[in-house]
Symmetry: C2
Subunit: 356 residues, 2 copies
């Protein structure tokens, strides 16, 4: 059997861009099959199609086949069948629920999907002798920054306000303990800052169900006319213009970070748990993002300043030195690239993957 | 259907004593059926018997019937069948793995049993409209004490060294989030200090598999001749005699704390998450425990001072004012009671529940 990379949640936003980046790399190396498992909670599949739209489009763009399984990762038997059918070399684990606000309303769903699901995955991996994992973590684990930029040595788990953030922190702790208990494990936990942007083709991108939770898709939906107006949560933070500052990173840069992480597994002597930031190292304010998006799209983004949102912090951005040192990776795409690619995706697909 | 209390892990040490205390109370009130679910990971069942020894003996002592199901709480379908068959009013949730040292070796097993299991239980409870839970927590959630005595406002989750301790802390956080998301939930998390002792009958008690992890069963097995010598981990702590100080509490006191907690559910206006210490408020050193046990048993306990054990703290003991205020409960049994009852159990049953 060809060696395979299993991508859980590979039909989602970051997952699908990573699948695209892996297949792009495969065109150079021809070394891995890509196997995706996704329960389609957050993905669109057209009637009559076997595969979700994002994967169907990637196959079209790359002329490659993606093996797809519609399975919930909490289903140990379903996961086991995938490990029986493919020679899995390593796993990139995106499958999770990810809406911060929703997690406050539905904590049990979040803990079950994100923690029980991850534990079941680990259990099945171990059963099949697979010990290499790239984990989809978040800068949320740092809580309110004690200093900036945030490096990987910053304390984690303190004052976390959402079940989503706690679930990522708990999973990191679980992975640390697993790596301590058995040196066969190699786990790279990638702590994403704020992924934005879309594939250069303009054919895959972020497609949140309902009202977007994150700034960039919200701006894009205002630009395209799906939403009337942006709400800016607070302009009295201690930042350049009073609005919140975040480290936005292009999803294609992020995807390439995962490709680099997978390469690390074949480095002699590599083992254990490693947390690595994926960001650009630069923070932009909400007003700066609006201005950049207006410039890239040529559209006016009407906005209104409203009260701060509970749990929001003033600013965060990454210390990116470890990602460069360990992965040999750096974000290369600019804020303008992020806005332009988001706009290409959004304007070509005003309703996301759903055909109008 | 008679209203029932579901006790998960009810065949274990604290679980079985709580079942006994509930049935004792029932002899006064006749109000609840007792339903036990246990996967028998840590319980002995004699060949040909349907019920584990601890429950069989309790039935004999109380002349009451216990409904018993051999089910792993991660089995949602199995749990659901129990909720279909009984009118469950509230749940006392003991089912968990509990050996600190083993949890370092087998973290995934601990996280799956203690976190995934608890989430599955909550999911099934909600499905059947049951929102009242007493949770079996531990003073381990406090980590290294910042001050003594430990009250419930002491920070939790900082510097926890074992997957066992983390699993208890994570579950408390999950329960807090669930209570925030839906005011129907009533959860009392009982933070046990160090449960010791045995039922006054001398017929049920602590029966650890393999070498005991905790001091009291170790001392008892030395006293009865199953083990040769006690190892005392460090005598250079900043305590009365240099050995570690803990707040030991009689398991029958602890069991009565659970009975009181269940009563709280019927108090008008009670809701949300409440963490409550169950301890005596008094700490005893290892050497004090040895001396007390020697006095109670009339046996000499040979011991040897060895190096400190990683992760051990110098001293902890509880502030017990909240348990008194909220539950109307106080530990009444003395150190001598703890030793005498442990010795009665151990000397009557040198091999625990296993008939020799």
């Amino acid at each position: 059997m060809t060696r395979s990379i299993l991508v859980t949640g590979g039909a989602g936003y970051v997952g699908s861009h990573t699948v695209a980046a892996l297949l792009q790399r495969q065109q150079e190396h021809q070394d891995f099959d890509i196997v995706v498992v996704d329960d389609l909670t957050n993905a669109v599949r057209e009637p009559g199609q076997k595969k979700p739209e994002a994967l169907r489009i990637i196959e079209e763009l790359t002329k490659k086949t993606i093996h797809f399984y519609e399975v919930d990762i909490r289903d140990a038997a379903g996961l086991s069948r995938i490990f029986e059918s493919h020679s899995i070399e390593c796993v990139i684990h995106f499958a999770a629920l990810k809406a911060v606000g929703e997690s406050v309303q539905k904590p049990l769903e979040y803990y079950q999907a994100n923690i029980s699901g991850t534990c079941t995955l680990f259990d099945v991996m171990r059963k099949y002798g697979v010990y290499k994992l790239v984990y989809s973590s978040s800068c949320t684990v740092y809580g309110e920054p004690e200093y900036l930029p945030l490096n990987e040595g910053h304390p984690t788990g303190k004052g976390l306000t959402s079940p989503y953030g706690k679930s990522k922190y708990f999973c990191e702790e679980i992975m640390k303990d697993i790596c301590r208990s058995d040196t066969k494990w190699m786990i790279i936990s990638l702590r994403y800052f704020n992924p934005v942007g879309a594939h250069r083709s303009g054919r895959i991108g972020e497609d949140p169900a309902g009202i977007p939770n994150n700034l960039m898709p919200f701006i894009a939906q205002v630009a395209v006319g799906r939403l009337n107006e942006l709400q800016v949560f607070g302009n009295d933070y201690n930042t350049v213009d009073g609005t919140g500052v975040r480290d936005y990173i292009h999803v294609e840069d992020l995807a390439e970070g995962h490709v680099k992480a997978v390469k690390l597994f074949s480095q002699p002597g590599f083992s254990g748990f490693h947390a690595v930031n994926l960001g650009t190292g630069t923070g932009y304010s909400v007003l700066q993002m609006i201005a950049a998006f207006e410039a890239a799209s040529g559209r006016k983004i009407p906005y209104k300043i409203v009260a701060r949102r509970a749990g929001d912090i003033a600013a965060n951005y990454a210390d990116v030195s470890l990602s460069h040192r360990l992965l040999g990776w750096r974000a290369t795409r600019t804020l303008d690239d992020m806005c332009r690619d988001t706009w290409r995706w959004q304007s070509n697909n005003p309703n996301g993957f759903k055909r109008s």
